[in-house]
């Protein structure tokens, strides 16, 4: 079975500053694989490179065995990828229901979209109550629900989650991690990008540590917990 994500020798740069240097990593299907790293380590750039938002300078990105390097974002999404972006990135002037529908933008069947909407409302009853409210007027925690629901609306095989706990209260953070575990249980591969080391490693199967644009450690979650390099990168 092909890896959900296979990155090899990836370089990315903005103007002259190198952001990613020779990054290689693999996300095995059916796992939660995490990418840990502090601010400015290049985590978001890596996601942008996978999604085709920032074309890399060199290297290759494969999604489910297919080369996607340099592909337009909507084509990458069409391969069964969805992303819950950093900061939730609601469409603030669209309703909750419209935000969710955009998650299923590539699904042509209205019946299927309705079925998925019902599923999301079932998971987050609060969103059902607020379906006609503008997303921009919701609280941070509610927006997190919309963002997760929107990611699931595409019925992805691979879900990329960028810093889901950023800016949320501890209660919501805990809830988010529980939901991400639930997503894996549904057979969806999760690539989880986080700064929150302990809670992330508690649910992840494997992971990588990014520091200064390089992968400095990688392995199973258990290995990472005891890895000296990892501690050096993180706690310096």
């Amino acid at each position: 079975m092909d890896a959900a994500i296979e990155i090899s020798g990836l370089h990315a740069a903005y103007d002259k500053a190198d952001v990613l240097i020779d990054v290689s990593l693999t996300v095995a299907p059916g796992t939660i694989t995490c990418l840990l790293g502090s601010n400015g380590a290049g985590k978001t750039t890596l996601i942008r490179a996978i999604l085709g938002l920032t074309p890399p300078r060199a290297g290759s990105v494969k999604v489910f065995g297919a080369e996607v390097t340099g592909e337009a974002t909507h084509r990458v999404i069409a391969r069964g990828v969805a992303c819950i972006p950093e900061g939730r990135r609601m469409f603030p002037k669209l309703t909750v229901a419209e935000n969710l529908r955009l998650g299923a933008y590539q699904e042509p069947s209205e019946a299927e979209i309705k079925r998925r909407l019902a599923e999301v409302y079932d998971t987050f009853p609060r969103l059902a109550e607020r379906r006609n409210q503008l997303a921009g007027t919701m609280s941070g925690g509610e927006q997190a629900m919309v963002s997760i629901g929107r990611g699931l609306m595409g019925k992805p095989r691979l879900l990329i989650v960028d810093e889901p706990s950023l800016g949320l209260s501890p209660l919501y953070v805990k809830e988010n991690f529980r939901i991400i575990e639930g997503i894996r249980a549904r057979g969806i591969t999760v690539f989880l990008v986080e700064q929150n080391v302990h809670q992330t490693l508690a649910i992840a199967d494997a992971g990588y540590v990014l520091s200064g644009g390089r992968v400095v450690a990688g392995g199973t979650a258990a290995e990472l917990k005891s890895n000296a390099e990892f501690h050096a990168a993180y706690f310096g």
């Binding site: 999604l51 938002l53 337009a72 974002t73 909507h74 999404i77 069409a78 992303c83 972006p85 990135r89 469409f91 603030p92 002037k93 669209l94 419209e98 529908r101 955009l102 998650g103 933008y105 590539q106 503008l134 921009g136 007027t137 929107r150 595409g154």
Partner: protein, 304 residues
């Protein structure tokens, strides 16, 4: 009373035309944050395309006005849609990361190029063309007030186009994608929206709506000329600005408001009616000073 009624009909007609031009500015600004100054000249190209199609249909022996009208509408809409998409694809998207002023200037120059090309290359292009009267010329009489069938058809058509656009933007998948791109391009891409396609479709849509305005204008005045887009473009842009750029309903309101100002300037002011544009633009300047972000500023619910 008789005269007042005529002015109201005339004002509604002009308001519809201006609103149709203004929504284009607002759509383009919505999806790409750009001002496309060639919009009025695209309208003019639409009117000339329609005129050519009508003449061509007549030359091919389609003598029925409805057949000529159909040819006019189809070719004007298709031609400007293609022109609008081409401008987006080869002029505006390549300049997307350039300063906004460069795009404004580039489209201003393109507008001049279009205008001059029609003047120089269209047969006898420097002279006004007599646009054929393709609509029924009957009229209804109520006492002193005469309502012409052609004006009524034009106003109703324009209003239907506006309602249709409203439904397209708010009720369809394409409209949802346009609104998503307008709010957050990158997240829209991440949802799987083909960004480039949506931009091209939006420019095609806005341009063909301008062609409707150009053809309406030709049918109403029975005359078109190579410079007609200059003033119509400026008025449409002003209407979009006073309504609140980026807001569809503001643009429509702005269009009707501008027409009302012209009518007030022509009828109710103590100076000659030739000063109506001076009056209308002076009020627009005052309005902009009073409400710099427009009468309906971009609010939570309503960007494009």
């Amino acid at each position: 009373m008789d005269l007042f009624g005529q002015y109201v009909v005339n004002g509604l007609m002009l308001g519809t035309v201006y609103a149709l031009v203004a929504v284009g500015f607002t759509l383009f600004f919505g999806v790409l944050d750009v001002i496309k100054f060639s919009h009025g000249d695209v309208l003019m190209v639409g009117a000339f395309t329609g005129f050519t199609a009508a003449s061509g249909a007549a030359a091919l022996g389609f003598s029925h006005p409805l057949a000529q009208l159909a040819a006019t509408v189809v070719f004007a809409l298709a031609g400007t849609a293609a022109l609008g998409a081409a401008i987006a694809r080869w002029l505006i998207l390549p300049l997307k990361s350039a300063p906004r002023l460069n795009i404004l200037l580039a489209t201003l120059m393109l507008g001049t190029a279009l205008r001059e090309s029609v003047r120089l290359f269209y047969p006898d292009g420097s002279n006004p063309k007599a646009f054929p009267a393709l609509l029924p010329t009957s009229s209804w009489q109520w006492g002193q007030f005469t309502l012409r069938a052609d004006s009524s058809i034009l106003v109703v058509t324009g209003v239907l186009v506006i309602v249709g656009l409203h439904l397209l933007i708010n009720r369809t998948r394409l409209g949802l994608a346009i609104r998503a791109v307008a709010q957050d391009e990158e997240t829209a891409r991440t949802m799987g929206i083909n960004y480039t396609l949506i931009v091209l479709v939006t420019f095609a849509l806005g341009s063909s709506i301008a062609a409707v305005a150009g053809v309406m204008n030709g049918l109403y005045y029975n005359e078109i000329n190579f410079g007609m887009g200059l003033l119509l473009g400026l008025i449409g842009f002003s209407a979009a600005i006073i309504g609140g750029l980026g807001n569809l309903y503001g643009a429509i309101l702005g269009g009707f408001l501008f027409a009302a100002l012209q009518m007030i300037g022509a009828v109710a002011m103590p100076f000659a009616s030739a000063y109506k544009d001076v009056f209308a633009f002076a009020v627009v300047i005052a309005l902009m000073a009073w409400k710099p972000t427009g009468l309906i500023p971009e609010r939570a619910s309503d960007r494009v």
